[in-house]
Symmetry: C2
Subunit: 209 residues, 2 copies
C-alpha cells in the first residue's frame, strides 16, 4: 500500500507550502490544484465552479457557468444537491486513483476522510490570525491588495466554508484534533524547519497500520 | 528568558512519557508531580487532595483530609471556592518560579495559560481510545487491574474533569488546537520517534518570540 499524507489547512496558514516541502523532502507526489483540474476534465465543469464546490461549498447564490451553460440559482436546491453529489463522487474517484498511483501528499478535498481505508497520516495546519493575514498579503497579486480588515474577513469566510463543506460530507468537525494525527501551528516555527522535523517521522510511519 | 515547553495531555496518551523524553533529549528540567508536591509543602495541604484540585477539579463530594483536619463537604461551596482560589494562586507561584529557574518541560496544571507571558511552546498530546486503554493497562499496578470497560469509563471521566478544570481557570477549551502550537496523536508513531523529531525543532524556537 502506498504512503499517503493528507493535509487539512486553514486559509493562509501555509498548509500548501508545508505540503510541497514535505513532498519534496520525501520524494512523494504532490496533489493540490491537480484534483480540481482532474475533476474538471472528467465532468466538463468549469474549474472555478468546481473549486467553489470542492473546497468552499458556498451555496453559490449567484449565476454560474456550468460547462458552457449559464445557470441561475433559481434552478433550485435540488439541482445543486445533485451536482454536489456528482462532483463528490468524481472527487473520491480522483483521490483514490492518486492514492493507488504512488506515495503522495494530498491537500484538502476531504482527502483524510475519503481515503481513510488507505490509513493516511493526517495533518491539520493552522496559524495565528496575524500570521495568516501577513501570508495572504505576501501571496496576493498587486491588484488584489485588500486592507487587513478585508483580509481578516476573507480568511474567516473561507475557513467557515471549508468547515461547513467538511462537515457536510464527513459528519466530522473540521480542525478537531480527533480527526488528525498531527496538528501544526505554523506560527510556532519556520515552515522549512517544521517540514524537516516531520519528514523523517512521517517516513517511518508504516502505511499498513 | 528561559525556554518553556508545556504539555497538556489526555489521560493515557503518553504525554508524560513524551515530556520526559523531550526533557532528556533537550537537557531541560522536567516538572510533573513536583508541582503538586511543592504546593503541598507551601500550603500544608495533603497531596492527594491537591491532586484532585489541581488536575481534576472533581468538586470532591466526599469527606476530605485537609492537612490534619477532616472536613465534610457540608462546609459548603464557598469554603471550597476559597480553597480553589488559594491553591490556584500558589500553583501559579510555583510554576513561575520553575519557569524562572531554567529551561524546562512542564506537564499539566494549566501551565500553558499561567505561563503565557513566558511564550511557552505549547504541546497537546492525545491518542486513539484503544491505545489509551492499552497504555493504562500496561502502567497499572497488578492490584489495580480493571476491565476495558472500566478503563474506558475512567479515561473519559479524568479527561472530562481536566477539561472542566482548564475551562474554569482559563476560559478556554481544553485540547482545542487554537490554544496550542503542536497537537500530537501518539497513536501515529512510537513516542521515542516523535520526541526525536520534535526535539531539534523545539530547540530552534526562540524563547523571545
Amino acid at each position: 500500500m502506498n504512503k499517503i499524507i493528507t493535509i487539512g489547512r486553514e486559509f493562509g496558514s501555509g498548509g500548501r507550502e508545508l505540503g510541497k516541502e514535505l513532498a519534496e523532502l520525501l520524494g512523494f507526489a504532490y496533489y493540490d490544484k491537480e484534483i480540481v483540474q482532474e475533476i474538471a476534465k472528467r465532468t466538463q465543469l468549469a474549474e472555478e465552479y468546481l473549486h467553489a464546490i470542492v473546497e468552499n461549498h458556498t451555496g453559490i447564490p449567484f449565476p454560474i457557468t456550468v460547462g458552457r451553460t449559464l445557470y441561475h440559482h433559481n434552478h433550485g436546491g435540488e439541482y445543486l444537491l445533485h451536482h454536489y453529489a456528482h462532483v463528490y463522487s468524481e472527487q473520491a474517484n480522483v483521490l483514490r486513483e492518486m492514492a493507488e498511483r504512488s506515495d503522495c501528499v494530498i491537500v484538502g478535498s476531504c482527502s483524510d476522510y475519503i481515503l481513510k481505508d488507505y490509513h493516511p497520516v493526517r495533518l491539520f495546519v493552522y496559524a495565528e490570525e496575524e500570521a495568516k493575514v501577513a501570508r495572504c498579503r505576501a501571496n496576493a497579486d498587486e491588484h488584489e491588495q485588500l486592507s487587513d480588515k478585508q483580509l481578516r474577513r476573507m480568511i474567516k469566510k473561507v475557513d467557515k466554508n471549508r468547515a461547513r463543506h467538511y462537515h457536510y460530507h464527513t459528519g466530522q468537525i473540521w480542525g478537531n484534533r480527533t480527526n488528525y494525527d498531527f496538528c501544526i501551528n505554523t506560527s510556532a516555527a519556520p515552515l522549512k524547519e517544521i517540514a524537516e522535523a516531520l519528514a523523517p517521522l512521517l517516513k517511518n510511519i508504516k502505511a499498513e497500520r
